[in-house]
């Protein structure tokens, strides 16, 4: 009996959470001309149309680039930081932790606005560079946090043993620590990638003429187009994110690190 109620509650909740997606997927697969659900027959023509739009291709590349390089940069900064915070007794460790975690707390629009006015305009950085720096900053908290929790699970005596047995600190890091936190780093990468790719408020402010990330481009497109291609585009983006996560799950049981 309890099981039945449990399943009922779960089904309702999942329907609420995931139902809208399924609707979008099918609305985008409509053979008709108007955006509606249930769709007027099934066809992939709107999905195909999405690929033909030039500006989406460009913004997709930009978003991908930002996501990949931004997350890599965040990891390059964040992994050493997480390691230091975890393995050393640093003065001001709490402060450092808060500083590094701050991008999550502040509303995206503020970040975008602040960076626009006090970073881009004074320094004259190009829009792309500003976006890159902003995305790195936004992903940094995730990088540090996820890798930290992974490090927490790794006992430090293994490294100490390695050093005792003759490794240099660097070797101990690369041979002992890195392989063991691989999962955490990969998880941080996935999380960072998805966060950066789907980022809207900051990118909204920093985007300029000719330089748009994909979500911003989608928003602009959605404002002027009212046909199933919008739904198709949303569904495609969703699939992409899901594919990345699915692959990650397969590779390492990702949910353990969240």
């Amino acid at each position: 009996m309890k099981d039945l109620t449990s399943w009922a509650i779960i089904s309702v909740t999942l329907t609420f959470l995931i139902g809208p997606f399924i609707i979008i997927i099918f609305a985008g697969a409509s053979a008709g001309e108007a955006l509606a659900f249930p769709p007027d027959g099934l066809s992939l023509k709107w999905y195909l149309k999405v690929f033909t739009i030039e500006s989406f291709r460009q913004s997709f590349i930009l978003s991908m680039g930002l996501a990949i390089f931004g997350t890599l940069a965040a990891l390059l900064l964040g992994v050493p930081a997480a390691y230091a915070l975890n393995r050393y007794d640093l003065p001001g460790a709490e402060t450092i932790r808060t500083i590094v975690a701050s991008p999550i707390i502040v509303p995206g629009i503020i970040v975008g606005l602040a960076l626009l006015r006090y970073l881009v305009i004074p320094t004259g950085f190009t829009v792309t560079l500003a976006l890159f720096l902003a995305h790195t900053a936004l992903v940094l908290p995730y990088a540090v946090r996820v890798v930290s929790s992974s490090l927490n699970n790794l006992r430090s005596d293994m490294e100490e043993a390695a050093v005792l047995l003759g490794c240099t600190r660097l070797q101990a890091f690369t041979k002992v620590v890195l392989p063991n936190i691989q999962g955490g780093v990969l998880a941080a990468f996935i999380l960072g990638f998805v966060t950066s790719f789907n980022q809207v408020p900051v990118s909204l402010f920093l985007s300029g003429p000719g330089v748009k990330t994909l979500p911003i481009d989608m928003l602009a497109y959605m404002e002027i187009t009212y046909d199933p291609s919008v739904a198709a585009l949303s569904a495609l983006l969703a699939f992409m994110s899901l594919a990345i996560v699915f692959v990650a799950e397969r590779l390492l049981g990702f949910s353990r690190y969240v």
Partner: protein, 273 residues
């Protein structure tokens, strides 16, 4: 633990400095604008802001929706999380995956789905008219309800995840023991589950509340210019009027609200001994 602090600092500082220069500094300057006027530091920006009825309304509405979304998410979240803990580990993993799935998808896509659902030609209206509950489709979009639903869907997974991880720490025999001792479900919840999971509730509550406060796309698309929230108002002030003072004021208010909510929840959690 290694003792060489210099080494440690060298590893941690690049990240900290990066965050400081590229993030804290610009944001800090922006926020300080909220306090400035020609004569130096004042609260005039805030006073002006709150003296306008529109701003008061938007502030209260944002607060209200934040609390409603967090509260509803907590209720449904507990039910869902509890149900999930009753599943077999394999099923649990799968359901968990499905719960976090939405988080991976762009808020633009997630919000857009609601347009298809809540629009006058959408399925909710089709059902309502079909069942004869109304002669004509009812107006669902551009209302607070639409924004509420959109925000709830957006942030509920966060609540479920927080509660789940808190619930997993409840020893498996505690609840059956309580039941055996005669407690009904109501008592089990308030006297057993809630106290043991209060930290999860604090984390989840803060995440959902803050998220609802600072969401942009969902209120923009589902609420429009009639149902303004602090974040959409901010955007309007900047984009249409270049009014950076208002923007900074709103930003500060949002940050203060998040902190306060977090502190309040923590206080409630520790008080519940």
């Amino acid at each position: 633990m290694f003792s060489s602090t210099r080494e440690g600092l060298a590893l941690a500082l690049p990240a900290a400095i990066f965050a400081l220069l590229l993030f804290i500094l610009p944001v800090g300057i922006l926020l300080s604008e909220a306090f400035q006027s020609d004569d130096g530091w004042t609260l005039k920006g805030y006073i002006d802001f709150f003296s306008k009825p529109l701003n008061q309304k938007v502030f209260l509405r944002t607060l209200k929706l934040g609390v409603l979304v967090a509260g509803t998410a907590a209720i449904i979240g507990y039910a869902a999380a509890f149900s999930i803990t009753n599943l077999s580990p394999k099923a649990r993993g799968r359901v968990f995956g499905l719960v976090i799935l939405p988080l991976m998808i762009s808020p633009v896509a997630r919000t857009y789905a609601w347009i298809v659902i809540l629009g006058r030609t959408g399925i909710v209206n089709d059902t309502i008219v079909g069942l004869g509950l109304s002669d004509t489709p009812i107006r669902l979009l551009f209302t607070e309800t639409a924004v509420f639903l959109g925000l709830l869907q957006l942030f509920m997974p966060l609540m479920i995840i927080s509660l789940l991880s808190a619930m997993e720490n409840i020893p498996r025999d505690v609840i059956p023991a309580a039941r055996v001792l005669g407690a009904n479900w109501f008592q089990v919840f308030f006297k057993v589950i809630l106290p043991l999971t209060k930290e999860g509730l604090v984390v989840g509550g803060t995440l959902v509340f803050t998220g609802a406060l600072t969401a942009y796309i969902t209120p923009a698309i589902l609420g429009g210019s009639k149902v303004l929230m602090l974040e959409t108002l901010l955007y309007q002030r900047v984009n249409v009027a270049n009014d950076f003072v208002s923007a900074s004021v709103i930003a500060m208010i949002l940050i203060v609200m998040s902190f306060t909510a977090n502190l309040l929840l923590k206080r409630i959690a520790t008080a519940r001994k």
